[in-house]
Amino acid sequence: MATIIDITEEKALEVRDFEFTYASADEPSIKKLDMPIAKNSITALIGPSGCGKTTLLRAFNRMHDLYPGNEYAGEIIFKDRNILTPNEDLINLRIQIGMIFQKPTAFPMSIFDNVAYGMKLQGIKNRTELNDRVEKALKDAAIWKEVKDRLKHDANGLSGGQQQRLCIARAVAVEPEVLLFDEPTSALDPISTAGIEELIVELRERVSIIIVTHNMQQAARVSDYTGFMYLGELIELGKTEELFVTPKEKLTEEYITGKFG
């Protein structure tokens, strides 16, 4: 019953026959889901609360493995391999597939150390290289001008919007191929939100982006593709302008016109 368009360009990720069951649940939260994710594009996931969009997002970097008992089934193909196998190197996977969270997650350390954290984990110790890459990442995240004079200050002194851009800088600094955004602006004011959205659009040139959002306008503004999820299923995946203007599925139409959700 689902309508999923064929993506002609190269794919960054491909979800096949995916099922996910939380440790505390009897029933799977996501059922038999198939979904292609286009490379160097922005895919938005929308749907009412509890539809499984964040659950799906957190499967792409195997975040669910942090809590015991969660179960995956099916495949998520990334770089010609299924990343759901037990012998997947999660540290390596999470370097390649980064994540930005709902609330800003600045570490309790300086602004510089926050951005350098991922690089230091990879064993980069050379001071000049670290300095250069931190500066580049902060510029990429459009926050360099605001923080360049206080790199040694505690990152928790920044505003929420600045912290979120700092987190984006931190994620971009390790040069991932995919970035997952989990409602990145839901804790921010409208001006910070606009800044983050602009940034996400700019990042598309270098990374493939998946963004979960409660805000349909946001999905319409930033994304190339939009997937509508409902009760653990992908109901429709299409080009964003087509999905919002001429949805193929009745459920999608009802959701985007505000009949439920």
Partner: protein
């Protein structure tokens, strides 16, 4: 009388009663402190810090032996108890979490926190002092470590759990292995709280007398050999204060004063850390 009037009267009665209770409580505390300060400051002199204990009647007597003994016994207990407590707390919060084993350890340590310290003294007497054949500084340190352990373990556990799980997830999402997430991110987030737990734990054991009576016992002269019985401020204070000699009683006051100020400053320092954390 209307309902409103009744309510106002009841409200006033409750307010007066609760204020009175608070004043009585604080009054006793101030009373204790003022008696301590008056008698303690009077008994203070330089020789307290430079001279050892002496038989009653000697002019040159002091508490040097007890101060050094106290520092060594509490120091060793801190040196062992703090890392053990932090590691155990880390296990509870980061690895054990809600597992049966972790919950059991939490329950047991809560019980241990309220166990009478004299019982712990008796326990160490049985397992350390009796086999060794004599009292020793080590035995005192072991008893204090056992008393300190549950305090540090539980505060570490609580403080680590206060660190938002999203912070851990963010570190994992950058490809950090678990031990680095804990040592580089979670510990930093809980730094002030853990430090407070350590200070309060040290403050708690620094004032213990009963477990030391059974373990390190006492020595009226300076001894720095942990294998031998050792003086401590608390036991010295107990002995001097209950003696019939006036100059010894004076030294007892001085010991009480020094000990109270030490514990008071540890507690204030602990509160300052909490306040600093909240203010952030």
């Amino acid at each position: 009388m209307t309902h409103t009037q009744k309510r106002i009267i009841v409200n006033n009665i409750v307010m007066v009663l609760s204020t009175l209770s608070a004043v009585i409580g604080i009054g006793f505390l101030l009373w204790i402190l003022s008696v301590l300060v008056i008698n303690g400051v009077d008994a203070l002199s330089w020789s307290i810090f430079t001279e050892e204990g002496a038989p009653p009647g000697y002019e040159d007597s002091g508490l040097k032996h007890a101060l050094i003994g106290q520092l060594m016994i509490v120091g060793v207990a801190t040196f062992v108890g703090v890392p053990l407590g932090i590691l155990a707390g880390t296990y509870l919060s980061e690895y054990g979490q809600k597992s049966k084993l972790a919950e059991t350890i939490r329950d047991v340590s809560d019980i241990m926190m309220s166990a009478p310290s004299i019982v712990i003294g008796a326990f160490v007497y049985a397992i350390v002092v009796v086999p060794m054949g004599h009292f020793s500084g080590w035995a005192g340190s072991i008893a204090l470590t056992i008393i300190m352990l549950p305090i540090i373990l539980r505060t570490t556990d609580d403080m680590l759990q206060l660190v938002p799980s999203t912070l851990r997830e963010a570190a994992f999402a950058l490809g950090a292995p678990k031990y680095k997430v804990i040592t580089q991110v979670v510990y930093r987030g809980a730094k002030a709280g853990i430090l407070t737990g350590i200070l309060l734990g040290v403050a708690r054991v620094a004032g213990e007398t009963a477990p030391l009576l059974f373990t390190s016992f006492n020595d009226n002269f300076l001894n720095t050999d942990m294998n031998e019985p050792m003086a401590s401020l608390t036991v010295t204070m107990y002995n001097y204060a209950t003696s019939p000699y006036e100059d010894w009683q004076k030294l007892g006051w001085a010991a009480a004063f020094i000990l109270s100020m030490f514990i008071l400053s540890l507690n204030i320092l602990g509160r300052l850390f909490i306040m600093k954390k909240k203010g952030k």
